[in-house]
């Protein structure tokens, strides 16, 4: 019986060592080499020194933070609002809402990017809308800050559905008696939401913030399709910068060193989140 269990787990363990484990080892190994496509030369920590002076990479890290700062409030506030709105409806309607808002999540980013590029085009929908109130046209995809904002909006619209579902699920998990008791004590619906529901679902929101930071650092499709990282790397994320370094310029070694730094940044975010979670309990 024991043998059966080990035998069943074996293929996945082999795969684990062949791919994820091997690639984590290899990323560290490669980061010590200078490479021009596939000619490697050992250079020690030189790649890391190069990165310190690589302004484009650090811009991309800052861009990642910008994306996070723009996307997180947008997603959390709208998701909370819709969840509060939806939680009073019967489950059937809730499911329909979840379903509708999950469709953009399932749709591949490269598909979504095509239509948002048109929305943010120089003579596109957004410029037409702001034109109605006498503003614009603004260069939504060709100016660094606006480009980041456009990509943030696009990204928000696609990840939004998952987080709505997470928030709604944690609201529905709150025992109904709690609301009853509060209502009897004379709390208004708004008070109940802000004073009772919000603190209870705070751990979920923290988790969402963590996911969003991680996702912001790794936006790729929208950057690739909408701005190609431009202008001058002004909308690139660390993920995009790594991809470009490796597969446009062939510097696998340098890109591996950047990968390791990205890995550490994300690990740090996870650890901080875990610490806050434990502390808030």
């Amino acid at each position: 019986m024991k043998r059966v269990a080990y035998l069943m787990a074996l293929p996945s363990v082999i795969l684990f060592f062949l791919f994820p484990a091997a690639s984590i080892y290899l990323v560290g190994h490669l980061s010590l080499f200078k490479s021009d496509y596939l000619n490697y030369k050992f250079v020690g920590v030189l790649n890391y020194v190069t990165i310190l002076q690589d302004a484009k990479f650090w811009t991309s890290v800052l861009n990642g933070l910008f994306y996070c700062a723009a996307i997180t409030p947008m997603v959390v506030i709208i998701a909370l609002a819709i969840a509060f709105l939806a939680c009073e409806f019967p489950p059937k309607i809730q499911n329909a809402v979840k379903f509708a808002l999950y469709i953009p999540v399932l749709t591949a980013g490269i598909i979504i990017a095509n239509v948002w590029k048109w929305i943010f085009a120089p003579t596109g929908v957004v410029n037409w809308l702001i034109g109605l109130v006498g503003l614009g046209p603004w260069p939504w995809l060709t100016e660094a800050t606006l480009a980041k904002l456009s990509i943030s909006i696009t990204m928000s619209s696609t990840v939004f559905g998952i987080y709505l579902i997470m928030i709604l699920a944690s609201i529905m998990a709150i025992p109904k008696q709690l609301f009853e008791a509060a209502r009897i004590d004379g709390a208004s619906p708004l008070q109940i939401k802000l004073r009772i529901v919000l603190p209870i679902i705070m751990p979920t929101i923290l988790l969402i913030v963590m996911f969003l930071i991680i996702q912001s650092m790794q936006i790729w499709e929208f950057v690739w399709m909408m701005t190609s990282g431009g202008p001058a790397g002004g909308s690139a994320t660390p993920a995009f910068n790594i991809y470009e370094t490796a597969f446009t310029y062939g510097q696998y070694g340098l890109a591996s060193a950047k990968s390791l730094i990205l890995m550490l940044i994300i690990l740090l975010v996870v650890l901080i989140q875990k610490r806050i979670e434990r502390w808030s309990r």
Binding site: M1, K2, V4, A5, Y6, M8, A9, S12, F16, L18, F19, P20, A21, I24, L26, V27, L30, I82, L85, I93, A96, F99, L101, P104, L106, T107, A108, I110, I111, I112, N114, V115, W116, K117, W118, I119, A121, T123, S157, G161, I162, Y163, I165, M166, A169, F211, M217, Q218, W220, P238, A239, I242, Y243, A246, Y252, S259, L262, M263, I266, V270
Partner: protein, 271 residues
């Protein structure tokens, strides 16, 4: 009133997809006319013709995508499912390490491992579709979904079957597998679409036109079109490419739809 607001918000989020479809049928001259139209003024198929010229190759790409997606997700369910089963049913100490090891890989950013993974594919001499399949099987998320689900199946089912003298294989095939249908549906719903549409990774591995998957093929075609002479940024063609890529996803979605709503609470995360 609240119902109207809720409904309007849902519509708002679906509007881009609607405009994608409308735009794909709009001729080049009309697409930039504002306000945007909800029904194309002069519906046309000219945007799709740009891709349809490829005819046979298009079918080839579609077949490649089907092969890559079905084999990857199938092997994923068998291999990761077996591990999840072993962990959930036989609570053996050494198997615990698998749980932690797989959890650790989930914390590693995908973009941190594309370079070593690309180099590994060369070291292992994997090429084309085989490389796509081999690198798409290991999905820790699917392991955790299945493990969580199997853990909750009451052990009495298994114990009583054992007392009745059923072998381990019989227990797996006759009892556990039918019970696990819903979670398998969810895994397919969440990850099949992700494998199918993984343009970022597949474009690195698939070079020859014959080998390309649907998404890589369409995107490459789009790139060629955009660099051809006299071709100015044509949003209609881009949106048509989006709709074409979307169609197989709709098929996956419709198939797994029945498992889906239950699964939404089971696994909130796509990646």
């Amino acid at each position: 009133m609240r119902a109207i607001v809720l409904f309007a918000l849902c519509i708002l989020f679906l509007l881009p997809l609607y405009f994608l479809i409308v735009g794909s049928f709009t001729p080049m001259v009309g697409i930039m006319k504002m306000p945007p139209r909800f029904i194309p003024a002069k519906p046309t198929l000219e945007n799709y013709d740009k891709f349809m010229q490829y005819g046979g190759l298009l079918l080839r790409w579609l077949a490649n995508s089907a092969i890559a997606t079905i084999i990857s997700i199938g092997l994923n369910i068998i291999i990761m499912g077996a591990a999840a089963y072993a962990l959930a049913l036989y609570r053996l100490k050494p198997l615990k390490y698998i749980y932690f090891a797989f959890a650790a890989t989930m914390m590693v950013s995908r973009y941190s491992t594309i370079i070593p993974l690309f180099v590994l594919a060369r070291i292992y001499q994997l090429r084309g579709l085989v490389a796509v399949i081999a690198t798409s099987i290991f999905i820790p998320g699917s392991f955790f979904l299945m493990h969580d689900f199997m853990k909750k199946i009451p052990r009495d089912f298994v114990d009583s079957a054992r007392i009745d003298g059923a072998g381990e294989v019989r227990i797996l095939l006759r009892i556990m597998l039918p019970l696990c249908k819903p979670v398998v549906g969810v895994v397919v719903a969440i990850f099949a679409g992700a494998i199918y549409s993984d343009f970022m990774w597949q474009r690195l591995l698939l070079q020859g036109e014959e080998q390309m998957t649907f998404v890589v093929g369409i995107m490459t075609r789009l790139y060629i079109l955009s660099t051809q002479g006299g071709y100015i940024h044509n949003y209609g063609v881009e949106m048509a490419s989006g709709v074409l890529i979307l169609l197989p996803m709709v098929a996956i979605f419709l198939w797994s739809n029945r498992y889906f709503i239950g699964g939404l609470t089971l696994g909130g995360i796509k990646e």
